[in-house]
């Protein structure tokens, strides 16, 4: 068997890429065999759990699995939309329709979440698709940060939970919009935006531009690449979220909640560790409604959808660590400032 490296070298020398043959029926057979194997494992393992695992480990597994099972359909939806955008959206479609002025463009982009009903985990693959379709790095961040807050489901659930009480809903919407645009503006001023992206994602973009295969085959390759990038991140992020839930006592955070300043930071920390979806976090924080001050709740509702452990794991597939540290710092400072201001006014 010729080593792949030698083949590639030879190919490079001749300058022509041989057609990359798909696996075809063999691939399908391997897939079905894998499904049968997994189903066999599931059916053959004993149903009763016994006492092999301590309660803490048991709850860690249950919580982590529930985040995966809840998020996965949205990640699939995001990947499907991302592939559709890349395959069928003409490259200049967005460019022609969005305003030329940077500020206006980002303002419009931050409203895309209203049209694309994906929750924040699904937004990451979609943002990757939009990046490949001509969105700049800063604009993709604006989309990623704004869409979970500025979308109908989130707005409705927040209204159901809080109504107009203390302006929580209004500050959530305004804060989400302003912070997302602020981050987009800051990163749009970066001299070399490509360096904000991970090498793996840059390579994926490069491959995409070089690929002239037929549409179904390109779609299949994108699915393979997107799931390889997204799913490990989702599983690791969910495991971290589940672990923190079990390891960090809620008491500590709730004790901090009474102080106008500390409560803001306590709830932001809570938002970071619980890693909820933006369309449910309002009900969750309602449970702390009278313990925490309104500014803290606003900070929770603005910071949580933008940055949390699961989102960072997902975004790390696309942005470098350094970029994410800066992004987190800006979002955290702005959310804290907003929360403290609301508390002062209250």
């Amino acid at each position: 068997m010729t080593s792949p490296t030698t083949t590639t070298r030879r190919r490079a020398r001749t300058g022509a890429r041989p057609p990359r043959r798909p696996l075809g029926t063999i691939g399908l057979a391997i897939g079905l065999a894998a499904v049968a194997l997994f189903a066999g494992i599931r059916i053959l393992t004993p149903e009763d759990r016994g006492d092999a695992l301590s309660d803490a480990v048991q709850d860690f597994v249950t919580l982590s699995a529930s985040v995966v099972i809840e998020s996965l359909p949205f990640v699939f939806l995001g990947i499907v939309l991302s592939i559709a955008v890349q395959l069928w959206l003409p490259p200049d479609f967005l460019m022609r329709r969005l305003p030329a002025n940077g500020f206006l463009r980002r303002a419009v982009i931050s409203l895309l979440g209203i049209l694309l009903p994906v929750c924040e985990c699904g937004n990451v693959p979609l943002a990757r698709g939009l990046l490949q379709r001509g969105l700049t790095v800063g604009e993709s961040m604006t989309f990623l940060l704004a869409a979970p807050i500025l979308n109908p489901v989130t707005i409705i659930t927040t209204y159901q939970a809080f109504g107009w009480q203390d302006g929580i809903l209004v500050w959530r919407i305004v804060g989400g919009f302003v912070i997302a645009n602020l981050v987009g503006w800051v990163f749009s001023r970066h001299p070399d935006p490509t360096s904000l992206l991970t090498p793996a994602f840059q390579a994926a973009c490069a491959r995409e531009h070089a690929d002239a295969s037929a549409t179904p085959r390109r779609g299949a390759r994108m699915f393979v690449e997107e799931t390889s990038a997204m799913l490990p991140a989702l599983f690791v992020g969910s495991a971290i979220a589940g672990f923190i839930q079990v390891a960090v006592s809620r008491d500590i955070l709730i004790t901090l909640g009474q102080n106008p300043v500390l409560s803001v930071f306590a709830l932001m920390l809570l938002a970071f560790v619980v890693a909820l979806c933006s369309n449910v976090d309002a009900f969750f924080v309602l449970a702390f409604g009278s313990t925490f001050m309104p500014g803290a709740i606003v900070a929770f509702l603005v910071f949580g959808p933008m940055v949390d452990v699961k989102m960072l794991a997902l975004m790390r597939t696309t942005f470098t660590t350094r970029t994410l540290v800066q992004l987190t710092a800006i979002v955290a400072l702005a959310s804290a400032a907003l929360g403290l201001a609301v508390n002062l006014a209250a």
Binding site: A39, F76, S228
Partner: protein
């Protein structure tokens, strides 16, 4: 060889593991242990779509991922691979961690049996906090038909109402798991369930306190019980109501352990 296989197909492998796990949970009626059944339709639909796409990708996608080898020759997008072409050590680490993730996912989703959250999480999340905060809903329960109330409704009533006369003559039958009442751990316990809004991570424990001195001799924390009786002023607490049990008996964990 192993490196390129793993780095290329880990996403499809994780997809198939999750698809089998979710569809099996749905087929055996256990998806509700993880997510609110209201979302089951969407979850199952997208899971089926994901599974079909994964199988189609296996059939259609090119066999090999050539970007691992792209650094051998010059191409337009040079810089991209400069750091992406990892050193052998990093490749080993990446392969190993991907295998750990796939194995961990298989164990968590396919080997371990599905489970409900335990009383440990109920204690950490504090039944009192939930009950006090969802209080707005309790007021609207006054005057409604008590036969339609579930454990979550009674939990709010027990926390929010002080006068047992409003509920005189109503015989409750409540099923849930046992978790101790923090202020009165030896004489009272909660009949507890988790209320799930979206998925188990937002589970909030709701519970009706039961006054039963010496309950620890009969039940362990986390046991499922059915209690019947009427509401009385909570003997342990100045405000609130508690169930004065006629009978408390052990029971099996129901198919649907959560309230939604």
């Amino acid at each position: 060889m192993l490196h390129s296989l793993v780095s290329r197909w880990k996403g499809v492998a994780l997809t198939l593991v999750s698809v089998v796990a979710v569809l099996w949970l749905a087929a055996t009626g256990q998806l509700g242990l993880y997510i609110n059944p209201d979302h089951a339709g969407f979850a199952v639909t997208m899971t089926v779509v994901g599974g079909i796409l994964a199988l189609a990708s296996l059939a259609l996608a090119p066999v090999r991922d050539d970007h691992d080898h792209d650094h051998d020759h010059d191409h337009d997008h040079g810089g991209a691979d400069a750091t992406g072409a990892a050193t052998p050590r990093r490749r080993v680490a990446a392969t190993a961690s991907a295998i750990v993730v796939v194995a961990g996912a298989t164990v968590a989703l396919l080997v371990l049996p599905p489970a409900t959250l335990t009383a440990r999480t109920a204690i950490d999340r504090d039944v009192e906090v939930t009950a006090a905060e969802l209080a707005v809903d309790a007021r609207s329960l006054a005057g409604a038909d008590p036969s339609t109330f579930d454990l979550s409704d009674w939990a709010l009533i027990a926390n929010q109402f002080d006068d047992p006369a409003e509920f005189a003559g109503i015989e409750l039958e409540l099923a849930g798991f046992v978790s101790p009442v923090p202020g009165d751990p030896d004489d009272s316990f909660y009949i507890t369930r988790f209320k799930i809004t979206h998925c188990a991570i937002d589970a909030q424990p709701v519970g009706v306190p039961v006054h039963l001195p010496g309950w620890r001799d009969r039940f362990a924390v986390d046991d499922w019980v059915v209690g019947t009786g009427g509401l009385v002023a909570d003997p342990a607490d100045q405000d609130g109501l508690a169930l004065l049990p006629g009978t408390v008996a052990a029971t099996e964990e129901p198919e649907q352990p959560y309230v939604y």
